[in-house]
Amino acid sequence: MISIRDVHKSFGSQVVLNGISLEIQDGATTAIVGPSGVGKSVLIKLIMGILAPDSGEISIGDRVITAARSEAERNDIRAALGVLFQSAALFDSLSVYDNIAFPLTQRGRIKNDATQDRWSRLTKTEIHHRVMDMIEALSLEDYISNFPEEVSIGIRKRVGMARALITEPSVLLFDEPNTGLDPLVGQEVYDLIRSCRERWGFTGVVISHELPEVFQVSDRVAMLLNGGLIAEGTPQEMLASTNPAVQQFLNGRIDGPIKIQ
């Protein structure tokens, strides 16, 4: 379980998160939604330990990443995480194969659960087999030796997904997986998330502002606004919500409590 407790984060005088608390259940996928600029991506970076909160606590399993005193300790907790970035964030200088193999070649070992302290060392052959299995699972055989700029954005997202899954993390974070994609490729990414979750069974956190499309991969939905959590529930509960901000956001209306900045 990911537990976010009373997290505050400001940049200078700008308050981004003002006392957020949220529990993300094991095995479920939770969508964190809200208009642009409400701090969704900041929240995901706080979960990754890339940013530190001003106050509050975030734990993954029974380990508190915000209490980690060194980068090595944070890295140990991050071993349980995989991330699909908004732009896929593939390394330009590496081929599709090398991008997917990167987490394994750099770590040389694998750990499935943040709560366990057991690591398995991997040989070069084992890494190769794991990468080829992942390439096959995500139908990337035709792009093995291509570089990121040579493939479409949809394929890049798939490669990003393969790279995130290669260490078999227990938690997968998706930062706006559909931003900038046309509806067909966007749907392909949602299908990919769903099929990967069925196969690998991870806990998912999806950051998105695409409603109601993101509901198809979500078990729970939490909506952020003005630095706080204004609504939380199942997709059905969100659709039926009487909160005017939720309804304004769902229906894409300009008039309402949400002010366009």
């Binding site: 990754m48 890339i50 991050r78 390394f91 750099q106 770590r107």
Partner: protein, 263 residues
């Protein structure tokens, strides 16, 4: 009100500059710590040696040849007024070894490879590749900065050495071939005038310039702002800061090294 606003602005500027310097020194500390901690990624270091060193050789060779040639023409012209054209060779060699070789090499490497490093790291920053590294438990300082910093530190003296040799060669071609100076006198004066301390002085300068090159270009890229404008600004600042630092430090190094070696 104007006085208060001016004081506030001054205070803000002092805080910004202090913060920026603090960040730069902490960044350097992390790089140096990264050099001495495992894993050492030798293949990444070799890639950077190729990018910074090998890819800079042609442009530095061209500049060195013509700098040596110009020094020979100017030296012969000036020394002829004192009837001392025999010293043209030593004037060319000493200028190149003590000053122009390391400085021109540093400025060229900063312009060519330093801007590329800042832009590359800056783009990795804005496209979340650096965040991706951290999310995969890979330290971006050790993975990206240490190989570039070390390669700059080692490539700079090698390139400066090559630049000095080619500069003297360019001076020799012009001096002996076009200005009809005696080949024996030209080379003989170099042997008699150049001492080990001159070579040491140039070598130390090249190492210090390599250090500045790596530090500034990596730091500016790693801390670049948002979007294309951020990368543009970081790249410009990187080249300007490193170039000015090289010239300012060159003056102080020359003063200090001259005093040390004279004693």
């Amino acid at each position: 009100m104007n006085a208060i606003a001016s004081t506030q602005n001054l205070g803000r500027m002092v805080i910004d500059v202090t913060e920026s310097w603090g960040k730069a020194w902490i960044f350097l500390f992390h790089i140096i710590r990264g050099i001495f901690s495992r894993p050492f990624r030798f293949h990444l270091f070799m890639v950077q040696m190729y990018q910074i060193g090998v890819n800079s050789t042609l442009v530095i060779a061209l500049i060195a040849l013509f700098t040596g040639a110009v020094l020979a023409v100017q030296g012969e012209y000036t020394l002829a007024k004192f009837g001392a054209t025999a010293y043209t060779g030593s004037a060319v060699a000493l200028s190149l070894i003590r000053e122009l070789g390391p400085v021109l090499t540093a400025l060229m490497v900063i312009g060519r490879a330093g801007s590329a490093i800042t832009a590359e790291i800056g783009i990795m920053r804005i496209t979340e590749q650096i965040d991706a590294l951290r999310s995969m438990a890979v330290d971006p300082i050790r993975y990206l900065m240490v190989p570039r910093f070390l390669a700059g530190l080692i490539a700079m003296p090698l390139l400066a050495g090559m630049s000095i040799v080619l500069g003297i060669f360019g001076g020799y071609i012009v001096g002996v071939g076009l200005l009809n100076l005696s080949a024996g006198t030209f080379m003989g004066q170099i042997y008699s005038a150049v001492t080990l301390t001159d070579i040491m002085s140039g070598f130390i300068k090249a190492i210090v310039f390599g250090f500045i090159f790596g530090w500034v270009s990596c730091f500016k890229g790693y801390n670049c702002g948002f979007g294309a404008v951020g990368v543009n600004k970081a790249t410009t600042q990187s080249v300007v800061t490193a170039s000015v630092a090289v010239l300012v430090i060159d003056y102080f190094l020359t003063s200090i090294l001259t005093r040390i070696f004279l004693e």
